[in-house]
């Protein structure tokens, strides 16, 4: 079966050249078709994600989930979309109309843009730019802009507070994420996502950088604003945060953007640490690579959902402490240790290299846990001491009697 994508590309080349078009125009037409196909496929997956989300959350909560429309309720998300499309669109008074309408478009479009650099298979990649990781960091941060725009333009206090929190959270978790993403870049000596996947031919990077993998996963969840980091849309405090004033399809776009963002970040983590499209036979049959890629991405997506429905929401001070006092120092330590060991282990057997780096990561993890344990012990002692605020108030001097 070979490689259908390259075959189609070559066939298109021949067909368009046969029509007498200029080579530059052929490139543009092919890019247009590629963008259209990629975006359509990703949006179809997005609709499917609505079903996955509803079905899996139902299972986590011991319910059945949608099961009426079609087999296993598979047609349910299409019904959801139709419902959202025919709902009335309410714009609150005093909203900044242009920004208000642009925000949901921004939220979904930036997530779509991320798919341009994710390799689905050896040849099925939108474009293999050599600064892929920086592109992901940059475009990923643009999604935050959509949320800020939504919060600011809604003319609503809760939405604005949600936007503040979003800024604090996204901006903070960007730091350990960028440092943790440096580790696979350093191991692969390249910023291109496809080059990083290619560099994992003998072992996946999760073996040599498990802590960086965990850091990337945790910061990804924070970037998504999902539980336990969903204080940007805490129902009990600020109703729904930035999307409080959005109805109908505009809300739907935020929802779709969030689900797709989760899958996108899962895909990126899978590419950087779990070998992306790599698997038995993926080189010779590129379509098999797509299967492997989505299997890994959906596994990570499921892990993110598992975390979401298992953990309670954290407070904003806990969120910032976790980031600045734990994740950031840890990511710096991991980066320094990885860099030094990588330079020290030049020319050794691959298995020695993997074992030493794995051992170093385990040592770092053990030391971190010990430090955390002693800190927690101190914290418990501090709490156990009687606090002045807990003392009963002094009895008032009675004016009666005596």
């Amino acid at each position: 079966m070979g490689d259908p994508i390259t075959a189609i590309s070559l066939w298109l080349d021949g067909l368009l050249a046969g029509w007498g078009l200029a080579p530059a125009l052929i490139i543009v037409i092919k890019a247009l078709l590629g963008v259209g196909a990629l975006a359509t496929a990703v949006l179809l997956v997005d609709i499917f994600l609505v079903w996955v989300e509803r079905k899996v959350v139902a299972r986590f909560q011991d319910r059945l989930g949608p099961n009426r429309l079609g087999p296993f309720g598979l047609i349910q998300p299409f019904a959801d979309v139709i419902k959202l499309l025919i709902k009335e669109d309410i714009t609150p008074v005093g909203a900044d109309r242009i920004v208000y309408n642009l925000a949901p478009i921004m939220a979904l479009a930036t997530v779509l843009l991320l798919w341009a650099v994710i390799p689905l298979a050896p040849t099925v990649v939108g474009t293999d730019v050599n600064v892929g990781v920086l592109y992901i960091v940059g475009v990923g941060a643009l999604g935050t802009l959509g949320i800020i725009m939504a919060g600011w333009a809604s003319n609503n206090k809760y939405a604005l507070i949600g936007a503040f929190r979003t800024v604090a959270q996204m901006v903070s978790y960007e730091v350990p994420m960028v440092i943790a993403l440096l580790v696979p870049v350093l191991l692969a000596r390249s910023m291109g996502i496809n080059s990083i996947v290619n560099a994992q031919d003998s072992y996946w990077f999760i073996l040599v950088a498990p802590i960086a993998f965990l850091l990337t996963l945790i910061t990804s969840i924070a970037e998504l604003g999902r539980a336990p980091f969903d204080l940007v849309e805490a129902e009990s405090e600020i109703v729904a945060g930035f999307h409080i004033e959005y109805t109908g399809m505009k809300f739907g776009l935020f929802y779709a953007g969030e689900l797709l963002h989760a899958l996108t970040l899962s895909g990126i983590v899978a590419s950087l640490f779990l070998g992306g499209w790599r698997g038995p036979g993926a080189e010779s049959f590129p379509l098999l690579g797509i299967v492997y890629f989505f299997a890994k991405a959906f596994f990570l997506y499921w892990v993110i959902m598992w975390v979401k429905y298992s953990l309670p929401r954290i407070r904003i001070d806990q969120m910032l402490n976790l980031n600045w006092k734990f994740l950031t120092p840890l990511s710096l330590v991991v980066l320094v240790v990885t860099a030094l060991l990588d330079k020290a282990l030049v020319g050794v057997q691959p298995w020695v290299y993997v074992l030493v780096l794995l051992a170093a990561n385990l040592v770092i993890a053990w030391v971190t846990l010990q430090i955390l344990r002693s800190r927690a012990r101190k914290e418990r002692q501090r709490v156990a001491e009687p606090r002045p605020i807990a003392r009963p108030p002094a009895a008032p001097v009675s004016s009666q009697g005596a």
């Binding site: 490139i27 543009v28 890019a31 247009l32 590629g34 963008v35 990629l38 975006a39 959202l84 499309l85 025919i86 709902k87 009335e88 669109d89 714009t91 008074v93 005093g94 949901p104 478009i105 921004m106 979904l108 479009a109 779509l112 843009l113 939108g126 474009t127 730019v129 920086l134 592109y135 809604s154 003319n155 609503n156 206090k157 809760y158 604005l160 503040f164 901006v171 730091v175 960028v178 440096l182 870049v185 350093l186 000596r189 390249s190 910023m191 409080i244 109908g248 399809m249 776009l253 001070d317 600045w324 006092k325 950031t328 120092p329 710096l332 980066l335 320094v336 860099a339 030094l340 330079k343």
Partner: protein, 118 residues
């Protein structure tokens, strides 16, 4: 190389079109019956008091400032990581020293109390 960025350029133009289309369809088929009460700002049923552009806490600003310093410095490490194969010991130590400057900045901010949320 240029073709890669052509793809991203076309994607940049087309990506907003898909969500924008999804917003155009409701304009045609969805009902539009706004009334003054319906388009009020939602605040759990209570009327909004005062200006909705509330002031933000100064801590948000501090954290953004710390982020700015960190992010700009870390981006400089990416070329260092990409060229790691060709680096000699001096360049590696220089990079590590640069990371220690980051750690120093973190410790400074920590001791200054810039990372405390009051």
């Amino acid at each position: 190389m240029l073709n890669d960025w052509l793809f991203i350029g076309i994607f940049l133009v087309l990506a907003p079109v898909f969500p924008a289309l999804a917003l155009v369809i409701p304009r045609i088929i969805a009902p539009r019956k706004p009334n003054p009460l319906k388009s009020q700002t939602y605040e759990c049923g209570i009327e909004t008091v005062g200006d909705t552009s509330v002031q933000f806490r100064v801590q948000y600003y501090l954290f953004t400032l710390v982020f700015l310093i960190f992010d700009v410095e870390i981006v400089f490490l990416y070329p260092w990581a990409v060229a790691y194969e060709q680096l000699d010991l001096f360049a590696v130590v220089a990079g590590i020293l640069f990371i220690f400057l980051l750690v120093d900045g973190l410790i400074f901010a920590w001791r200054k109390g810039a990372l405390e949320w009051e």
